[in-house]
Every structure is written in structure tokens, then in C-alpha cells.
Amino acid sequence: MSVKERDPLTGHQTTGHEWNGITELNTRVPRAVWFFIAVTHIWALVYWVLMPAWPLVTTYTKGLLGYDDRTRVERQLMAANAQRADWTQALATLPAEDIRQDPALMARVAQTAPALFGDNCAACHGTNAAGGPGFPSLVDDAWLWGGDTATIMETLRVGINAPHPDSRSSQMLAFGETGILTRPQIRTVVNYVQSLSGRETQADAQQLAEGATIFAENCASCHGENAMGNQDIGAPNLTDDFWIYGGDDAAMFTTIDLGRQGWMPAWEGRLTTAERMALTIYIQDLGAEQGK
């Protein structure tokens, strides 16, 4: 069997072996293969000489270019910073009114803010900043802490009930859990609070009056005599029918029964001042656009 034969089709010789009918030709390795081997090896050699490549026992060859990923990306980031400086500096230092008056700066804001909002804020406040159960809408003009630029900037910097040392802190007490109010009392005050924003309630006038008393005794200290809220301590206005946790019976009962303590992250450290300013202007304008 192991006689070298010539393949009639190609004219090449076989190696003379046969495995269950399979034979193999002894064709030379095509020139192109050698060529590409040479090309790839030479390229690799050059690369090894120029860049970090071969390990030694406690160190490695650093490459003639003296260049590595970490220095490269750090330089890129620094260069990008420098390139953005013309407008980031302005955003970080100028008063908001001046920024709003400068169309060039406002164009920067328009380009920067949407993706920033999408990557950092939309998870809680929603893609269109309209909020959701537990997360306030940022476009309804009902502010816990205030909607002016300085206040929002501060809220973003330190967060609310966040681990930041200067964090704003606020808490809605757990009146039911702590035994301050009974369940019927909570139900009564719920009806009262609902009536303040013109919601339908089944309560009659006497119950509402009772609710008003409970409110004055327990709630007014934070939410104010007229329940218009108090932005110094982040207590919401209860007369505007905008709700973080919901204005229906069940949600409101839970709010008063178990209390609430929203947690808004602090963005200092994660976002720069300029980025926070861009976001502030962005959400203010978004609110204005959506007709408040």
C-alpha cells in the first residue's frame, strides 16, 4: 500500500501512506504561507521591541516607546479636560443667569445633559424626569427643597439622606408604627390630606374636622399650618396633588403608618461641578418645557 503514487489530477506525489482509503499528497508549502509567516513575525518583533512585552522574573521589558495604557488614557483624559475647559470652567463658576444668556454655553448644556441624565438619574427619576412611585418628578414644579439653581446644585452635590457628610436629611415619621396615631386616626388624617388637594374622599365634614385637628397637632410642625410644606426641611407641599409615593388611600396610609425617608445619592465625586450645573439647567428647562 505504501507505494508513492502520483495523483493523476494534480500530478503531485503522495506520501505513500493510506488510512482507510485516505491518502495525502506531499505538496510543498505554498510560498504565500511563508510570506505571511514572515510578515506576521516581523510585525510581532517590532511590536515587542516598542511596547511592554516579555516577562523577566521580577520585571518585564518596558518597550522602547516607554508608553503604556495607563499613561495613555490619563493623558487622553487630561487633554479632554483641557479641551472642555473653555465651557466647563464657565459652567462651574458663572451664575446660572449668565449661563442661560450665553447660547454657546446653552448648546454645551444641551449636548451634555441628556446622556448624563440617562446614565445617572433616569434610573430613578425616569427617562423623561417625570419620576415614579418613590422618586419625585423633577418637571412638576413641586419642589421638596426648592427649584432655584443654587438649591438644586446643593441637592445634587450632597444628596438627600445620603452617606455624604453634608447630606440633606429629612424624614417622614412613622406615626402608625411608633404608636403615635391609631389606624382609624391615620385613616381620618389621610382623608383630610386628600381633601386638601381637592381629591374625592368619602369622609363627611365631621371626619374632616377631626382630621384637621390631628393634622394640626402632628403634622403641621413639618408640613406647615396650611400644609404647604417646608422647603427648609424637605417636607413636601400636601395641597398640590403631586405625589412622590402616591395620593391614593393605600399609599398615603403606608406613608403615615411606616414613614418615609427618600434616599437621593450625593453626586459630588461622581459628577463634576460643571456636569451638575448642566443637569440642573437641563431639569429646570425640562420642567418649563412640559408646561409645569
Binding site: 508549502v29 510570506f35 514572515a38 523577566l56 521580577t58 495607563r70 488614557v73 434610573a123 465625586g269 463634576t272
Partner: protein
Amino acid sequence: MFRTLLGPFARFFEFHAKTHYRAERHSMALAGGILLAASIGGFIEIAPLFTIDDTVEAAPDMRLYTPLEQAGRDIYIREGCYACHSQMIRTLQDDVDRYGPYSLAAESKYDHPMLWGSKRTGPDLARVGEKYSDDWQVRHLADPRALVPESVMPQYAFLLDTPLETESLPGRLAALRAVGVPYSDAQIANAASDAFGQAMPDSDRAGGVLDRYGEETNLRIFDGRRDRLTEMDALVAYLQILGGLTDLAARTQPARGEN
């Protein structure tokens, strides 16, 4: 020129082909040759990672995962979160701009195994710790599309109702010590109690956690349930510490500009 360039390759090959022709009659010679050829690369690439000093940066402030966080990490592995989420911010400008300082080797030096991932169906999580609230994490895990309508992430609501198994934690910490994580005897012995205490700040077991793992440790009711310790507590505790074991990266990398 071309010919002289290729000469050595061709001659080497001619020699190789001849020896090969003889060797291919001996199965064990073939096997030995294969083993040899296939060992060189792996050895040269892996062994020096243990001997070259600056492979892993020194991070003196590095802390260990608490038993609760380690239990959360084990759940993260169990559920296959790594199939969609990376934990490795590359040295690329857009990675750093989106996720924060690039990841350092030191940050995963106690990660057995590492969870760097190979696919980002969801965002990188290397620095997601404290980016969102516990409440958000819990609700997002329970029903991602309720918070992010575009999400394709699965729901993990059952974690909220599954009590965390803590009995095996001492054994797990001991196994981790066997592979090089410096847990102390006290940490191992109290692992189950510490897991409970970390998620029950009002209980009498909470104090020991701070003693053993440092004042910075997050001591909170992670899942919003005071009545029991759940798997959700563990997973959220783990997510909230991601990127927070050491602040080496933030300290050593130039900030993206303070303005």
C-alpha cells in the same frame, strides 16, 4: 531578499518535517511533543504574574468583604449576573467617562474568582456601590422594567422572600482564607452572627460587625424588611460595596477635572 528572509523559516521547517515524519510513528513521542509545545506559552504568561512585583498595586486601605457581602457575592455568582454585567473598567477614555476611574488589579485581589465578565448586556458594575439607594436596588432587582422600561434584565423578586442561609458562612470564609484572603479566626467564628448584625443595625449583633470590619462598614436594613434577613439583603449589601473596598483608584488617578 524575500528568499533570504524566508530561508531560516524554510530550513527550520524542513528539519522539523523530517523529525516529525519519524516521530509520528510513536504515539507517546507525539503526545510528549504536544504537551511541550502547548505548555510554554501558558507558563510564560501566568507564572510571572505571581513574581513580578508591580502586577498588583499595594492598597493598604483595602478591606475584606463582610460575611454578608460575601454571601451576596455568592448569590451574584449563583444567579449568573456576570453573564450580563462586567466589573472591569478598561483603560479607555469612554469607559472612564461613563463608569469612573479605571479598575486596578488591587481592587479584585480578594476576588476568588474574579468577576470581570466578558459581555456588557447591562452596564459595568465595578463602581455601582452607593450610586443608587438600597431601595432602588431592591425594587430594581424585584422588577427591573418597573423602573427602567427599556431593560432586558430578569426579575429577582424571590430574593426578597428567601431567607439568607448563614450557617455555612464560617466554612465559606475559612475556604477563602485557605486560598489567601486574610480573614481572622474571630471573623470566621462570628461570620453567621455578623451577617445578621450587618443587616439588622438595631440588633445586639450589629456592634461586632464594626469591630471586626471597620467603622466604615455599611450597617443598614438593605432590603427594607426589619423582620428577617433575606438573600436580597446580602445581594444589595454586595452591590453597595462594589468599588468601595479601597479608594486607591480615586486617589491615584487624575480626576476628570473638578469643574
